[in-house]
């Protein structure tokens, strides 16, 4: 089992002929993801790598192939429209890898998706992988392993670091979700925690947060009230100065709010095992699971 994606996931790639889209589509195909269609306006009728039909519109792609999930690699100025197009075409899960989508555009996108009942992961995220089943996005497949740990994170490479630690010690994953580093995102920690809690294959959960906002604090309260499985967590940005944006658009301490210290305290209050450093993930998980 897994959350959000599995071996039945039928994927359409928005921006399949672009630089990033084509590179990562090859990686996803090699991993075994069922990539059933691609979309690039004006390139309809072509075949990508002699394996994937390309369509002009999402509506055509979904009608012809029955795709249920999309991944977006289009440039930032087209990303919000690509999300609307996917939702209108009947896609159920949209994963937006694109970085740099204006937050005001997201204020229009998110209520629309809620009305349509569509899940968005991202934007500005590495995507989702259910090891051995399907990979949607850019998380390197070779560092993942099948297993029983659910991973959810606001980061990209820091997530890889922690997955790498897990896999090296034989702790495989059910699903790893990168929810993205922007201030407004489609899927938050609580959505993933809820899904992991209900996924019978997931036995333990790793949650990787960072400075900025209060998502981690709310997630901690959710864990205390609703999650029976052991959870361990990490917060990046202990040394980040206030008022500065640390790379991610959402990673900023505003006034005295959003600090690493308050998030760590919230984790501890909720009984979440807090890692001091990424390498502690394995020992903490083993301690909690026993």
């Amino acid at each position: 089992m897994s959350i959000f994606i599995n071996s039945d996931t039928k994927l359409v790639v928005q921006g399949i002929t672009g630089r990033d889209g084509s590179f990562h589509t090859k990686q996803m195909l090699a991993y075994g993801t069922k990539v059933v269609a691609g979309v690039t306006p004006g390139k309809g009728g072509q075949q990508f790598e002699e394996a994937v039909p390309v369509f002009n519109t999402m509506a055509d792609a979904v009608a012809e192939t029955g795709a249920d999930t999309s991944v977006i690699y289009v440039p930032s100025r087209f990303a919000a429209d690509a999300i609307f197009e996917a939702a209108d075409a009947g896609i159920r899960l949209i994963v937006c890898i694109t970085e740099g989508v204006p937050v005001l555009e997201m204020t229009r996108v998110l209520p629309y998706l809620r009305e349509c009942g569509v899940r968005l992961v991202g934007p500005n995220c590495p995507g989702v992988i259910s090891p051995g089943q399907s990979k949607v996005g850019i998380i390197p497949g070779q560092i993942c392993q099948e297993g029983a740990v659910g991973v959810v994170s606001r980061s990209g490479t820091l997530t890889y670091e922690i997955i790498h630690q897990l896999s090296n010690h034989g702790l495989g994953q059910t699903t790893c979700v990168g929810i993205g580093g922007d201030p407004l995102i489609g899927t938050n920690f609580i959505d993933c925690l809820e899904a992991f809690e209900h996924d019978p294959a997931t036995e333990t959960i790793v949650m990787i947060g960072e400075i900025g906002g209060t998502d981690e604090q709310q997630a901690a309260e959710y864990v205390a009230a609703h999650v029976s499985k052991p959870v361990v967590g990490f917060i990046a940005g202990q040394t980040a100065p206030p008022g500065r944006r640390m790379g991610h658009a959402g990673a900023i301490i505003s006034g005295s709010s959003g600090t690493a210290a308050e998030k760590v305290a919230a984790f501890e209050r909720a009984g979440i095992g807090v890692m001091q450093r990424p390498a502690e993930v394995v020992s903490l998980l083993e301690e909690r699971a026993s």
């Binding site: 740099g100 204006p102 204020t107 229009r108």
Partner: protein, 379 residues
Amino acid sequence: MNLHEFQARALLKAAGIPVPEGEVATTPDEVEAIAKRLGVGVVVKAQVHTGGRGKAGGVKLAKDPAEARAHGEAILGMQIKGLTVEKVLVVPATDIASESYVGIIVDRASQRPVMMVSSAGGVDIEQVAAETPEKIHKLPIDPRFGLLPHQAMALAFKLYDDLSHVRQAATIMRQLYVAFLQAGASLAEINPLITTPDGAVVALDAKIVVDDNELDRRPNIEQLRDASSEDPSEVEARDAGLSYIKLDGNVGCCVNGAGLAMATMDLVKFYGGDPANFLDIGGSSSPEKVVAALNIITRDPNVKSILFNIFGGITRCDDVANGIVTATKETALAVPVVIRLTGTNEEIAVEILTKAGFEALTDMDEAVQQAVKLAREAA
């Protein structure tokens, strides 16, 4: 991107909001000339990207042009929180009957723009929020409909009893929302919004922060960027496609990915060191980016060791290795470097580095400890 007060005022004015006259000066002569032209007492205000200008002596009242000139001499060139004042705004001194606060932010929790008003104006709104949160009234705006007239009126009634004040303030709020959208802002605020003795409602000070992701589609806003008010290294980094923030420590950090970069800084601290910077070379790296990153890090005289921490995903380790070799071929590094890389094309990278005389590590903790130790020995 932060806008200066005078730039934010111009955007509000363009949206129809009443803003007092005023002009920007860069020399005491200009300050005096503007004061003469305005013909009344004036306020000389430092234009720097930081709060607390008043407390730092960067905002001064002058009764005549000669005094305005003297204030101009004192304020131009002064340092406020490490920033040099290069411009001042000269505005007529205004009689104030009352001060309020009106602002819009994008709220992460409701995922909407939120209009905030408070009758406690003229002070730091963060302070009001902390001490007397009941004095702040908030309204989430549905972006599909904008700020509706009745919503603006209801908020304005929280500020004023006089119907004329209420109507003026409601109009200003709706105009502020338009200015906020047009600028692609993440924050727009008027603090204080004042009433004058003759019954007018006027925006006395303005602040706008623009979402950096909006800039590529808003050239009119992008051209308001004032690079002279930013740290030169941070400007250079942005031009090279890097994300860099200078800190006070001595371990220079070069990392791919913002989360891993923060975690690396934290680990430096954990092992008893102090990070000299945050630096994210971004997703798709190239040798050129690494060269630029090394140039920026080595220019910081505090740096006593340099730590590379690369987890190859989209970033290819061999790109980073080639960058390190290229950068050090021209000028040898004056400080020791510790390189940790793992992931995509790791083997090729190790070969490139070994051939050039560098050692490559694969463990993050080991690399950080080594970098901290080297910095301590050199300090």
